[in-house]
């Protein structure tokens, strides 16, 4: 064993060495102003922006205050808390819009060259310049490609592939009644393929699918279900877990929501806040978004040119007509009506899936007219595309208003919109069926039952 010099001697020499290294360079480091960013972005994304922003703006240093949006709102509403400078929120719901209405934000006041005002009908700009979208979330298929290969399934490039017999029992689908994104999916299909054809696809896919309120990710990761219909953020995140999951943007896709950035009215460092918002929205900042462990889609069309051909470009998809879906008709009542229609379609899910299996089996052996009629019955939706224009019907689905708080105080904006609160698969949808809508829904359910009974009779007749 080596003999060590005495501890005292080392302490003395260590102290001398440390001091010698500490003093001569102090003048080189400039004092930098903090820019405090309230956020719920993942750390990898924040690290990328921190490096880029501080390099481009050496007069500032970023300080992150990490809160999920509901906690962030609580924090902002507490007068004793020091105000951050910027609020940069990851999707899904635009809480900045809620807080802007309550006067917590101030205009961005930055140049917006190269920033589109919208993608399709989704506005990217906040009213009065109070916030701006900073990243997009798209609809995608969450795919376990290993399971696809092992089960010999056709590659799920678009919805019709999932409607075929090969995918019977091999799709995970969010229950629109309990999962908000599930009800959004109904609009994506019916807008992208047309009302009747879109519903027909949904019916066939539902026949193939396992309908779930949560746990879709685990089903796909395990390979039990090779495909789930999902927002792209989830498969993006899962690539860091378990095994490589693939994200497929189908030919008929959709932007489902955006994340936003805004300046807080009480920002102590307004110039720094503006500089950070400008950086996030700049071409340099936007190209960082897909490079994170939790990649997201930039909101600048020019960013995609720098990202290469491998990067999915929602603006190109929009221009090519692939994104027909517009979230403008996602009013709470209409979402409830659509979810109720879907619930009616699958009210006897085992029997419904069996009917679809019989149709597929009969079609493969070339049975004709009766089988086609059975298919048509399963694909039929009992209301027309413009059903929501019926004011009697639409008013029956209107959610009941919450009573005003006592003493004239208004409830927080976000709490007043429980049905818009979440778009994350697996999160509660919060749908409730208003009393006046119940007879309408019952008539729909009866229509579905009748169609499915008739389809069964036809299939019995041809011994399918």
């Amino acid at each position: 064993m080596v003999s060590s010099p005495s501890r005292r001697r080392f302490l003395e020499s260590c102290a001398a060495g440390a001091l010698a290294g500490a003093l001569p360079h102090a003048a080189q480091a400039a004092v930098r102003q903090p820019v405090t960013v309230l956020t719920n972005h993942n750390d990898d994304t924040l690290s990328l922006f921190e490096k880029g922003f501080e390099k481009a703006n050496p007069q500032y240093r970023l300080k992150f205050v990490w809160f999920m949006p509901p906690d962030a709102m609580k924090y902002l509403r507490e007068p004793a808390n020091a105000s951050p400078d910027v609020w940069w929120q990851a999707a899904p719901h635009n809480h900045l819009a809620d807080m802007a209405k309550d006067g917590f934000l101030q205009p961005l006041g930055i140049a917006k060259d190269g920033l589109p005002a919208s993608i399709g009908a989704l506005s990217l700009e906040g009213a009065n310049d109070l916030y701006h979208a900073s990243q997009l979330t798209a609809f995608s298929f969450f795919v376990n490609s290993k399971a696809i290969r092992e089960q010999g399934l056709p590659w799920p490039e678009d919805w019709p592939v999932l409607a075929g017999p090969a995918y019977a029992g091999r799709i995970a689908l969010s229950d629109p009644w309990t999962v908000r994104f599930g009800s959004q999916l109904l609009s994506v299909a019916t807008q992208s393929f047309g009302w009747e054809q879109g519903w027909a696809l949904l019916s066939a896919i539902a026949g193939n699918a396992v309908i779930m309120s949560n746990g879709l990710r685990d089903e796909v990761i395990s390979g039990h279900q090779p495909v789930a219909l999902h927002i792209d953020t989830v498969p993006n995140a899962e690539q860091r877990f378990r095994q490589r999951m693939e994200r497929v943007y189908p030919k008929h896709g959709a932007i489902v929501n955006a994340g936003y950035i805004g300046l807080l009215k009480k920002a102590p460092n307004l110039d720094g806040a503006r500089a950070f918002a400008a950086y996030v929205l700049s071409a340099e900042g936007q190209v960082l978004l897909p490079k994170s462990d939790l990649p997201r889609l930039p909101i600048r069309p020019d960013a995609y040119a720098a990202l290469g051909k491998e990067q999915f470009d929602p603006f190109a998809a929009q221009a090519a007509g692939q994104f027909v879906y517009q979230p403008t008709d996602e009013a709470p009542g209409r979402s409830t009506a659509l979810a109720a229609l879907f619930a009616g379609l699958i009210q006897d899910k085992p029997q419904f899936s069996k009917l679809w299996a019989r149709v597929h089996a009969a079609e493969t052996v070339g049975r004709a007219a009766d089988v086609a009629e059975a298919r048509r019955l399963l694909e039929t939706i009992p209301v027309a595309k413009d059903f929501w224009k019926d004011e009697t019907l639409s008013s029956a689905f209107k959610p009941p208003r919450r009573p005003a708080a006592e003493g004239g105080a208004q409830p927080p904006a976000a709490e007043a919109r429980p049905q818009q609160a979440q778009v994350i698969p697996g999160q509660p949808n919060g749908l409730t069926l208003p009393e006046p809508a119940k007879p309408i829904v019952e008539s729909w359910r009866a229509a579905f039952r009748d169609n499915q009974t008739r389809a069964a009779t036809l299939l019995d007749a041809v011994k399918a």
Partner: protein, 437 residues
């Protein structure tokens, strides 16, 4: 079902413990053969590793960040389970490195005595209402070294200045800047018996020694093996120390927030509803995760230049401390998933005097101000792929393998001299070998 491959020759490393993925994910893969419940634990641990922490009392499971901290997630410093890097200059903050602080003297357990105003580590960030302690500004001084054939190799030497100090003067502090190390292969290193390390120390002819540190769970002194100065005895304690020191997150091993005497706002900060903020179960998950991260498999091991470099690595003395092969025992906590095997970490886990050039002038338990633990070399060839830089040594001063070799001194002076005396071709071969690790 287990898929461990038996050792078929003395120099064949058990391949199931290594990951054959050379992408940016190369350091984040589990050892082969985990059971389903093992995989579950591994990925639960990864959730903890990637978790962004929120300020108490908000945040649910994420609640616990601060009151003083460096970053908001483990993965922030250990990007892709790999190595951190120092700033390029004084106006760039430390994003994946930290500065340990102390004053002369020991605490009751023999650990460095914390600074009365700044504690044991400079925490640059604070919770709302709690000032961050300040900032360590790193600058670089150019220097160079001449090799035997006349080649001049540029080197750079770091200087750290403390600025924006929020709690008064920091005069007299001992400090040690350290980049975040890669965290793969740690379970295998933990499974190397102490007796093996002692045997190496006795036989190697230089002055390697085990650190002797305080093991919190046992309440006794124990050999140290993790950290740049081997100041942590177990992986679990190392993780718990990082939770507390880097994130301000408490664990069953360290249940109290660290607020120095002068930091009243720190002591008054809101507390998390979760006490400790990481439960024993969550700490066990991240321990399992860290322990089962596989070191990557070597590339190009059969390339003639690499083989020549490997021979040179041994012949000039590098392999005396960077021991190529170690035999592990079954891991003390995970004997089924980490059974006894041969590994190739290129370390002896011992402290060595590395000379004045690398001295940090801050003792750490038995480690003197010139001693460092021999860092494992496995996986370093993939750092440019995974972490997009090639910076090496405890403070990231070496910009490549050659600079790292040339900073060696003290007990490694002879090996450095051996390298400096090599021909250009031979040096290239040795560097090719290092890149293959």
């Amino acid at each position: 079902m287990r898929r461990f491959v038996p050792v078929v020759a003395a120099l064949l490393v058990t391949s199931a413990a290594h990951a054959e993925d050379f992408s940016r994910e190369a350091f984040g893969l589990p050892v082969a053969g985990l059971t389903e419940s093992g995989e579950d634990a591994f990925y639960r641990g990864r959730v903890e590793f990637m978790r962004s922490w929120a300020f108490p009392p908000q945040g649910g499971d994420n609640s616990g960040l601060g009151p003083l901290f460096n970053r908001i997630a483990c993965v922030a410093c250990h990007e892709k389970e790999g190595r951190g890097r120092p700033p390029d200059g004084p106006n760039e903050r430390m994003l994946s490195m930290l500065v340990r602080l102390s004053i002369p003297g020991d605490d009751p357990h023999g650990a460095p005595k914390p600074h009365p105003a700044y504690g044991g580590q400079l925490n640059e960030e604070g919770a709302p209402g709690v000032p961050g302690e300040g900032r360590a500004a790193m600058s670089w001084e150019d220097t160079s070294v001449r090799l035997g054939d006349g080649t001049v190799v540029p080197l750079r030497k770091p200087h750290v200045d403390f600025v924006e100090l929020a709690y008064g003067p920091i005069d007299g502090v001992l400090f040690s800047p350290r980049v975040a190390p890669g965290i793969y292969g740690d379970g295998l290193l933990e499974a190397v018996p102490v007796a093996t390390l002692e045997k190496i120390a006795a036989a190697q002819g230089v002055h390697g020694a085990l650190n002797e540190v305080f093991e919190v769970a046992a309440g006794t002194m124990a050999p140290g093996r993790f950290g740049w100065k081997a100041s942590s005895p177990t992986l679990k304690q190392q993780i718990a120390e990082a939770f507390l020191g880097d994130l301000g997150v408490t664990t069953p091993l360290f249940p109290e927030a660290q607020c120095a005497e002068a930091q009243q706002a720190c002591r008054d900060a809101p507390k998390s509803l979760n006490q400790p903020e990481v439960s024993a179960e969550r700490l066990a998950d991240i321990d399992f995760y860290n322990a089962h991260l596989a070191p990557p498999t070597r590339r190009n091991a059969d390339d003639p230049q690499v083989k020549r470099g490997e021979m040179l690595f041994a012949s000039i003395g590098c392999a005396v401390c960077h021991v190529p092969r170690l035999e592990t025992a079954a891991h003390p906590r995970y004997p089924a998933s980490l059974p006894a095997q041969t590994i190739a970490p290129y370390t002896d886990l011992l402290l060595h005097d590395m000379g004045e050039g690398l001295a940090d002038h801050r003792p750490d338990f038995k480690a003197t101000c010139r001693q460092w633990r021999t860092p494992p070399l496995w996986g370093l060839g993939l750092v440019p792929v995974v972490n997009e830089h090639s910076l090496l040594l405890h403070d990231g001063r070496a910009r490549n393998f050659e600079e790292a070799v040339l900073w060696h001194g003290g007990e490694a002076e002879a090996a450095k001299g051996g390298y400096a005396a090599l021909s250009k071709d031979a040096r290239e071969a040795l560097l090719a070998f290092l890149r293959s690790l």
